[in-house]
Symmetry: C2
Subunit: 224 residues, 2 copies
């Protein structure tokens, strides 16, 4: 299936994107690079935008196709099904976020600092300009049923990074690391639904969350 972790356009231009209906209106060639670019990649990106804005059920293949400058049927040359397309987008998003977080914590020693950077990177990627990661958060609603196992498999590796990060924290005894991780991750993902440009920067929002927890949650006797 080769999810194409590959470089899935980190910084490509994201269209106006207002809510759901990015309707099929215009089939304009994305002046960007007309035909040279892999059609598969364009479909993947269009699908990311559509899924991200409308959710799985809300998005439809025709709009995805139109946004990619292709007819609906053509998608099936590259992807087996709508399900498979979604899994591919989701996988690409996870890969991007994994890389972002890994890069962010590299070279940092202090466990809390590492978590803070990870949170900042997560938040920034999630609310950044790549449509891909947009599918990460809204998936929760298990609307998808049959896909669930595949998606959780993709997520597991990512979330285990946070498990490791949190495992190094030496939390106080009354704090369950698992609950801690889940609360942090869901709060971080939740930003996708309320963050808007003009306010605090995404990375700063992520940092704030960790700072809110930092002093309280540590058992460092010098601080508490």
């Amino acid at each position: 299936m080769q999810v194409a972790a590959t470089a899935v356009g980190g910084g490509l231009p994201v269209p106006p994107m207002e809510f759901c209906q990015l309707k099929a209106t215009e089939t304009i060639r994305p002046a960007d690079d007309p035909h040279t670019r892999n059609k598969r990649q364009q479909i993947l990106e269009a699908a990311a935008r559509q899924f991200s804005a409308c959710g799985f059920h809300g998005a439809n293949m025709r709009d995805v196709a139109a946004a990619a400058g292709v007819l609906a049927g053509s998608i099936y040359y590259h992807f087996e099904s709508k399900d498979a397309l979604f899994v591919a987008v989701h996988g690409a998003a996870i890969d991007m976020m994994t890389n972002a977080v890994r890069a962010a914590v590299a070279g940092i020693a202090d466990p809390w600092d590492r978590l803070e950077e990870a949170a900042a990177a997560h938040c920034e990627a999630l609310n950044g300009d790549s449509a891909f990661v947009g599918v990460i958060a809204p998936i929760f609603p298990v609307t998808i049923g049959a896909l669930r196992s595949q998606l959780t498999a993709q997520r597991d590796a990512y979330e285990s990074m946070f498990s490791d990060l949190i495992g190094k924290l030496e939390l106080e005894a009354d704090i369950d690391p698992k609950i801690f991780r889940l609360h942090v991750l869901t709060a971080l993902n939740g930003t996708k639904f309320w963050y808007g440009p003009g306010g605090m920067a995404p990375s700063e929002i992520g940092r704030q969350l960790i700072r809110m927890l930092r002093r309280r949650a540590t058992r460092d006797p010098g601080i508490v």
Copy 2:
């Protein structure tokens, strides 16, 4: 279309997992109170279950009807449209949660205690046995577009309760109360997606979150 396990390149066979499909299988009378009870109410409850499990787009009127022991057409006697049905469910859910939270904080003086109880009540209602509140969390994905303004209007009153609660906290200067509220609320709502019976009780999960934040976030000189 039969999604089935159909490969999806990933290879792994997808388990039955009938998450969404609370399919129309059984039309059993909800022994509860067969026909005395308002049919409208039964439809409302069935819709809550369906929307909660499948999301807005994922749920369909026929399954809702079957779950309510009714035919699809009958719904339209009580509700104008699928949209209206959803708004009704959402409104009922907000009402229930508002009552739960209001009752939980009644008679408690300390601001942090009040917030803790509110969080516990929110979490408990959200993961409790009433299907209604299930629609609260997954709505975030703005999948719904046109309904958005109606839903946010319903939410505003509820969220302002938390604003008030948090406004009384006297947070440290470097903590933005709005960010604080949003993080708390989204983390709380997030429990809907990972909470499972057998683990920590929902109310305790909610409490834990506030306790994680409590000491750090206060400027009480006696503690920090």
